[in-house]
Every structure is written in structure tokens, then in C-alpha cells.
Amino acid sequence: MGVLVMKGRDNLRNHMVYADNAATTKMSPAAIKAMLPYMETIWGNPSSLYGAGQRAAEALQSARERIAACFGASAGEIYFTSGGSEADNQAIISAAKIGERKGKKHIISSAFEHHAVLHTLKKLEKAGFEIELLDVHENGLIHPSQVADAIREDTCLVTIMYANNEIGSIQPIVEIGAICKEKGVLFHTDAVQAAGHLPIHVVEQNIDMLSLSAHKFHGPKGIGVLYARKGIPLTNIIEGGAQERGKRGGTENVPAILGMATALEEACAHMEENTKMVLKLRNRLIEGLSKIPHSVLNGDLEKRLPGNVNFCFEGIEGESLLLLLDDKGICASSGSACTSGSLDPSHVLLAIGRPHEVAHGSLRLSLCEENTEEEVEYILQSVPDIVEYLRGISPLWKDKVKGKRAFLLPE
């Protein structure tokens, strides 16, 4: 029976527990500070000849170098974009154009990529490309051998994300990169969730192209990077001036680029200690939530982003769970249908084989180094109560308890 167990936020009543860092992050004060001079005093257009413009151009170049250094690239391989989506779009379109010129129109990707990748691939499919989406194992991983088996004579691109945004599983990038390199196929990775959180080295990891987005590592929104190895000709998706070596028109967003460089350096410099802290919190969360009956952790336990927790709770619908968590001040997300205007359950959870009903009841908590043990304990108090309450008012759950319907997840 449904008894409303909502008790308010207890000791954290007026405190917001932000556990949705995979959606976006709070800006680092250092990154904000890095932006302000370029908003207030050095506002010149970097394409301008005069000193005030050239100072902006110099700042831009230094940001390019600092960012490149964070993952073993060189400054000339960094293209600034308006974010991860644009970088994904441009990488894929560029590789497709290169392939097309050689008569190669087969592209390999995976079923659980971000929509910036999947929708671009769909567009290419309509334009006559053959898109092969690899299955993802139940643990959220793709095996390098799947890539090796799928590559054909006419494959022009393999695009596999570095780490999944919903379930946090980290793909075997080095191995996939090595296979692509050996077979002479371009390899792109959407590293939007990985950059600033996992060590990346484009040369050692055989990455030809890589996308990142600053707001996922405490940098500003609206700015990202497409890394493209020297010699890979990019196709413009935004035509215009000679900016970004002619590959991306539009006056450069100097303040945001400087903010991004600072945030990325900061994230990379503190990666080890942040990972340690976040891992501890994450593991405690996973341990605690695992105790809820008929629940399952999504994504591999080991090969997993340090801050990612993702569970399915049988008999629960994600949106209700999120709204009740919000009432307790907890910001979380769900792969749920209802969150985004689409009614379909998360394509990621379906890709790892969760049945529709179970996929609807997911909860993603994504942590960062600013989260505390107290917050984690508060989450661990709150989630089980809400799950129990929602199950209590669910006709589905009642049927299961009575044995009229089968449980899909073990107790």
C-alpha cells in the first residue's frame, strides 16, 4: 500500500546534492577567472591585426597548446568547436567524405553511442552509407574482436565512444585503435565523458580523431574540441571565415576557450587524487544501492568512469523517482523515457539488453570530487524509501509480489 514516506531533506534540507555531473558540471572558479579578462579587457578579434587582436590571438594559441599537451597532441591538431555535439558531427562527416572519395562507405559504430553520433550516422545512412552498429555486451562493453571482425575493405571509419554517458563503461580504446591502425581505418572516439576524468594519450592510444566538451569537466558550456591527427582533412560543417585553419568559420570564442584550457589542465593535474576520492564515494553508493531488492547495476563494475553509478530498479518509473529525489534536494538523472520529450526508454539500457519495463526504471548518479560522504549517505537513505514508496503504489509491483507476474530482476 502506498504510504507517503517523504520526510523532507533532513539534515541536508536546504543543501542541494548535485549528483548529475555527467549532464553538466559546476564551473571551476579558476576557469571563470580565466575567462573574465577576455570578456572585460582583451575582447579583440583574434583575426585582427592590431595589438588588441593579436593579444587575443596569442591567448588562443597558448590555449591550443595547453589543451593539446593534455592528451599528447600538437596545437595544430586542435580545432575549437561549439561543444561535443559539433565535434562529433564534424569528425564523422569528415571521415565519411574521405571514405566517399575512395569509394569506401561502410562505417562501424556501436548501438549505445550518444545521439550526436547516432543521428549523424543516420543522416549518412540516408546519403547511402552503410552503418553497422556493434552490439554491446550486458556489461556495457564492446570487445575489440567485434571491431576486428566487422572491418571490411570498404570501411572508412570506426567511431566508438571512450566512455558511455549513461552507464559509464569504459571501452577498450587502445586495442580498438590498434586494430584500426593496423587495418588503415580512421578511428574516432567521442571522449566527452572521458576527457578530464581518464588519462588520454592520442598517440599511444592510436586515436585519429577525438571529441570533447568543456562543460563536462568544470569548464564553460558552448565550447569543445575536435582533435584530428595531422594530415586528416576535415570537412567544414560551419562554413565562413578563415578561423581554425579554414575548417570552422565563426569568430573564435576566446573567453570560453581560455576557460576550457584552464579547466582541462586543472582536471588533468588533479586527476589521480580526484579519481581516488570519487571512486570511494561511488563504490559506497554502489554497495548501498545494491541492497535494494530487484535492482541491478548497469555497466561494468571495473571498467567504469570513477563518478558513474547507474541502477535499474524493477517496478519503478524513472521520472517519478527523479522528481521525488528532487524534493529531497538530490539532482540525479535517468535514462527514462519521460525525461526528454521522447517516450522511448534509454537506447543505452536497451542496448545492454535490459527489457523495456526495467529500462524505464533507471537512476544515474554521477559524482565529482566536490561530493561528500555525507551526501552519499543521504542519497543512500533517500533512494530506498522512494523506491519502496513507488513500488507500493504500482499495480505492476503488486502483481509481481503476488506471483501474478514474474520478476525480471533477481532479489
Partner: protein, 138 residues
Amino acid sequence: MALYSEKVMDHFRHPRNVGSIENADGIGEVGNAKCGDIMKIYLKIDNDIVTDVKFETFGCGSAIASSSMATELIKGKPVSEVLQLTNKAVTEALDGLPAHKLHCSVLAEEAIQAAINDYKSKQKIRAVGSLAKAEESK
């Protein structure tokens, strides 16, 4: 301009008429295949008046709020009036729903219709039953 109106949030947070009715006179359960929501309505009907109503819902915030509001709207009403309840009335009583959530109010309408239908077919059976009994006693 929050996602949901105050009314929706109130009915979501404090849903009226949650639960089930033992020996209900009518029960309706409907589901939306796409979004997965399921609603179950229990009716107690005396003299063609809905004297009690309960619901159980598996679904999003607006599904729960729609169930709650719909049950409030039909409580104490004659069956003939209940049959005229539309999803539009539910939505309006909730001060509106986002476009992609309107189907939740449809689900509530359908669940109630299903419960009334169940009540009516049960009545018919009972009527047939009492008819049979009357025949017998002849």
C-alpha cells in the same frame, strides 16, 4: 514555466485515492505500450453513484498526478457523468500538462472507462444471475 504546474506537482507529491478496494464493483487496468505506464482503477458503486475510488499507477509524475486528479473528479459522481470524463477535463483540472505528457491524461480517461465497463459487465452477469434465480423460483 517549470516542467509541471503547481497542481500537477501537488497531486504527484500527495496523490489522492492511492490504493486498492477489496471487492471493487469495477476494476480497470490499462497500459501504454510505448512509455510503459500502467494505471489501475478500483471503483465502489452504489445506486449508480461512485462512492469510492482508488488507483495504483506505475508511471511518471504526470501519470500519477493524472490518476489522482481523475479519481478526484469522479468521486461521488453518477456513472453516466463519469462516462463523460475526458482527458481534456483531467488536463485542465491539472492546469495543463506538457504536450508530450498529454497521453498520461488519456490513460487516466481510459482506465476509468475500463473500470466502468467492468462494472457494467459484472452488473449484467449479476442481472442474468438474478434473472436465472427468479426463473428457478418460479
